[in-house]
Symmetry: D2
Subunit: 345 residues, 4 copies
């Protein structure tokens, strides 16, 4: 390894001008920046959003902007390493809080990026995907995969809020992001598959040779998830974590984003290994403190925070009840690209 590579300034100006003219540039002055030694140097910083702070801003958006002028009434949560306005919470993951008021509809569209919703508050909201009308209850994870038509509605009488997570930044970067709109879809002709077809683990509808849908299960009800975490915790030492998977394949539910439900016992501290994944944590219930690369966040129900790649993370449950979080991460993407990695702390 060379101690010191040549710099741009060491090259004669006429040579630099000729290169610019020819549309080329020397690699070596930039090489250490794009290929740092030993680990990436992320721009992303650990970031934290208190739901109590955001909720009034979100409700005010409801006052100021009718859903017809917004299509999706969302406050984007910007990585603080990039600054407010950045449409990414980590390098690959976008998150935002979306508000739907009673009686409103968010019209049907589809887009190349994939989305998932984690329901934060309110009753009566629903999402329709591929003919299935999916109820949205606190803590549920509801998918709207890339390329699937979807719309949202609200049959309740109080504001409904959910957290959107998308792989939008990656698709924008790759120049692969676009959408198509349609008049509000009429078909709601199929019951929710998680209620009908995938009620029990280890069982799936017998297809007699027919191939399964690509995204067979699009709602993961929180009550089942919490029950499974609590049961697992009885028999397991250390981390209690369940990955959300496609029941037809056992693979992650979306191509690039993974979802993991986590439970921390009262008083417990988890120190996961360093990992190449970046992550968003949303608190379903309980209170705690997470220290991420030295930044300390006290969290409670409905709060959200992030961790960059290879972050040192300590999560502590500071309450008397189990704490529950859903982690959104890009491990599925990194595994497809062949570079997912963990390191002992």
């Amino acid at each position: 390894m060379a101690e010191q590579l040549g710099t741009l300034e060491e090259l004669p100006q006429d040579y630099r001008d000729a290169m610019t003219e020819a549309g080329v540039a020397p690699l070596w002055p930039m090489m250490r920046k794009v290929l740092p030694h030993g680990r990436p140097q992320p721009t992303t910083k650990p970031s934290y959003w208190n739901y109590g702070d955001l909720r009034p801003l979100l409700l005010r958006a409801g006052d100021l902007t009718p859903v017809e002028k917004a299509e999706r009434r969302v406050l984007v949560m910007s990585d603080q390493g990039r600054g407010t306005g950045a449409m990414q919470a980590t390098s690959s993951i976008y998150i935002g809080l979306q508000l739907l008021l009673p009686g409103e509809v968010a019209p049907a569209h589809k887009h190349t990026p994939s989305a998932a919703r984690i329901i934060v508050e309110g009753k009566g909201g629903y999402t329709v995907v591929d003919g299935e009308k999916l109820p949205m209850n606190r803590g549920d994870v509801v998918l709207t995969p890339g390329g699937e038509w979807h719309d949202h509605g609200h049959e309740g009488d109080e504001p409904v809020v959910w957290l959107d997570a998308l792989d939008l930044p990656l698709f924008v970067y790759l120049e692969g992001s676009y959408a198509e709109e349609a008049p509000l879809q009429a078909q709601r002709n199929r019951p929710d598959a998680s209620m009908v077809e995938y009620l029990a683990s280890g069982l799936k509808p017998s297809k007699r040779g027919a191939s399964a849908r690509r995204y067979p299960m699009m709602r993961f009800p929180w009550d089942r998830t919490e029950a499974a975490l609590r049961e697992m915790a009885k028999y397991t030492e250390g981390a209690v974590e369940l990955d959300y998977v496609n029941p037809e394949t056992g693979q992650d539910v979306l191509p690039t984003m993974g979802f993991t439900a986590m439970m921390l016992r009262p008083g417990e501290t988890l120190r996961p290994p360093l990992s190449s994944e970046s992550a968003v944590f949303h608190v379903i219930g309980g209170t705690g403190t997470s220290v991420i690369d030295g930044a300390s966040f006290d969290w409670a129900e409905r709060d959200t925070f992030t961790a960059p790649v290879f972050a040192e993370i300590d999560h502590t449950n500071t309450g008397d009840e189990p704490a529950f979080l859903v982690r959104v991460h890009d491990r599925p993407l990194q595994e497809k690209l062949g570079y997912y990695e963990e390191r002992a702390r």
Copy 2:
């Protein structure tokens, strides 16, 4: 297609002798037999066993033969196309009724064929596989896959009976069947994964990069299966069928044998398409009549019957309650070999 192929008898005797000497034989006189036109001509016949008839015979085996002299105290159910003594219920599937008396143990062994147990009666029995102690309750499907050490025990106070299903005939035919014995295993160090790790559909333990076990879930409790069938029946017209799958992959639970839970509504008749699979049906609950290639079987709880390949099958629930069956079949094998086929009736 030739009207008539040459026969063995048309060949000169000296030629036939010379062929025998050389270890060869002409194909054409045998060709129509091994390659019949249009569909196979199975030897297997539809067969039926009434549990009330078999139970006393099985209990008498308990009196006559201590488990130490039997290792597995089983009455093999022989395809009636081949005759009693045949160790196969269809071309590829072996079934038998196994009895374990209170306090008995069936010592640890492993073998190349795979087995599954459907529990028929009795409480307190258990199977240990790979360190997991699996309770055996009425209707549960419990796997002991090929190559896995397993033993059985009984902590209750009445006879326990289960139906064994194995791909033993195939392995014997392929000259691949053998076993290894061991002193009774001590390790029972893991709780039942279906209670701990795979409680809810669409969730699996987060492995953080570690690969899953090949057979992660080895017990499929009946209560969950029945609940899932009943829920599915509310929203589905026609056949209500759930396949048992490996929750890590969505694939069939064993390499060659598939398991499908079926529900028939009161009064309902199902006429499935003709299929290349052979099948064993075990009645978990309810009463009905099945007509299979013209043979009519009246069945009730705990009875067992079979259907050969391409059988014409009518199942009718003749009772006032839903009827439940578990079908054991060789579709997974046929799909791996590339020839699974269905035909409209």
Copy 3:
């Protein structure tokens, strides 16, 4: 492990009669036979056929039986453990020598079993599969996979002979074997893909999203295979073996049967590990001696011999030139069933 299991004779006659009546039989008297300890006990015996002995018998079949009366004029090579007439060379593999005379055609049919041909002698024969007219030259491996229409013809002026290898015994056993006949196919509209689409390793036709055919390459010319073996031998110590694979997937070319080209250097002896596969060896060129479970076979060009499961095998090249063999085996089947196994000698 019990020293001695109970026997059938130890059971009272009235009990035995009642079991027969009920269609059941006790397992334990038969258990050691179907689950022998530690390794299978094959019926299959090492068998050997000298081509010089078989050739006159095959030509006489040409005199005695016109192809119209035979459809396929084949002498089946019977495992000597089962005796002449047995339609299997090992438990899963059928082989036979097929003769086609100048101008003859073997009409189109398809069947569930898969076949491969290794060309033994003669020029001008061809096979048509799925519209591809495949030349048949000495040593080529030509596939006619299960379910594919195929016919044979002969445009040369001397007898053509090839070795057929099929998974027919397995399909017959599974009651899955049947055929369909058709008038001789007219379509010969595609050139041989191995000449056009798969000329070079590591390259395949760009499909722009279209899925590949299930069996994209159906002829594996011997000249390329021999050249590849010779080149590999320069750089490799010990066994020089190449598996025939589907170039679109890298998987075995047929669902149950594998094909492996082998080269032995002059004077070399190979002692492969014990393996659960059964095998047929066909000599493409050279002379040698193979000792298989104690039976010694001297072989030369065009001879054929077999080895049962877990056989102890020594192959020695006794000539001055490299020797070449093609091994047909059932490892692909055993891997699909999850029990392929090797053991050190």
Copy 4:
């Protein structure tokens, strides 16, 4: 679809300030930009580099900067939509011309991004990957996959130049890019697998159960590729294209980048369908004109040009000989992410 979404300016300043303070931003003013209607709006512009123009600049880099001060002496070719200095030729693909002078070595390193080299001129260069010393001849494609140690050397007596293609931009964007350096590797203990193990299509080394290396074939010699293209052209109408694949799996050779060899017959014009892939074209031989989204490039041997996503492309061979190009594209990435798409023109 709303005619007009709300703008940032329509929101009260105090609300905008409060959002900034809270680390959030409204989605709707930015939504059309990140989710344009119907297709992406790429920043990438078609770009072209004449080798005759670049070669003197590259040789001057050899004079000005010893390899010890550069590690990799490369002129990066910048997408003209982003301007000179941009380290990407399309959104996901980096290319550059690398110079190695006689006797120089580029020391061993490994990095998370994957690279491939297309050799442009000069004899005697080589790359070592995983113990294999890979000769670099005109037109060869040589891989150095992510995570594999590799170094370069030069045993000839004239400058060696190759085109590097990497998925570096994607890895930098994802905060996943880093490198490790090592003293120059000593091991060169394996011959080139493309010469030894993968000489013929449809054959691979018999592994007897061992799993194959992840990247078994790392050099794809041009002479074989050209011969395969010429043979394919005899039998094929329209586009003659071969994808570079892993011979063990039939999959693309690298996780994110695909390589396709193309032949244009004299006078032929190809108008491929619109596609979501972005692409780099490098001319191995021949002369022609390509019109890409209206920009017209006249090209000859060793030139390079690019096309953004969904570009309208016409390639015309204007010479008297076949023209050959290698296309580097990101279809493998897009297929893994589930959004690869083609549209008729």
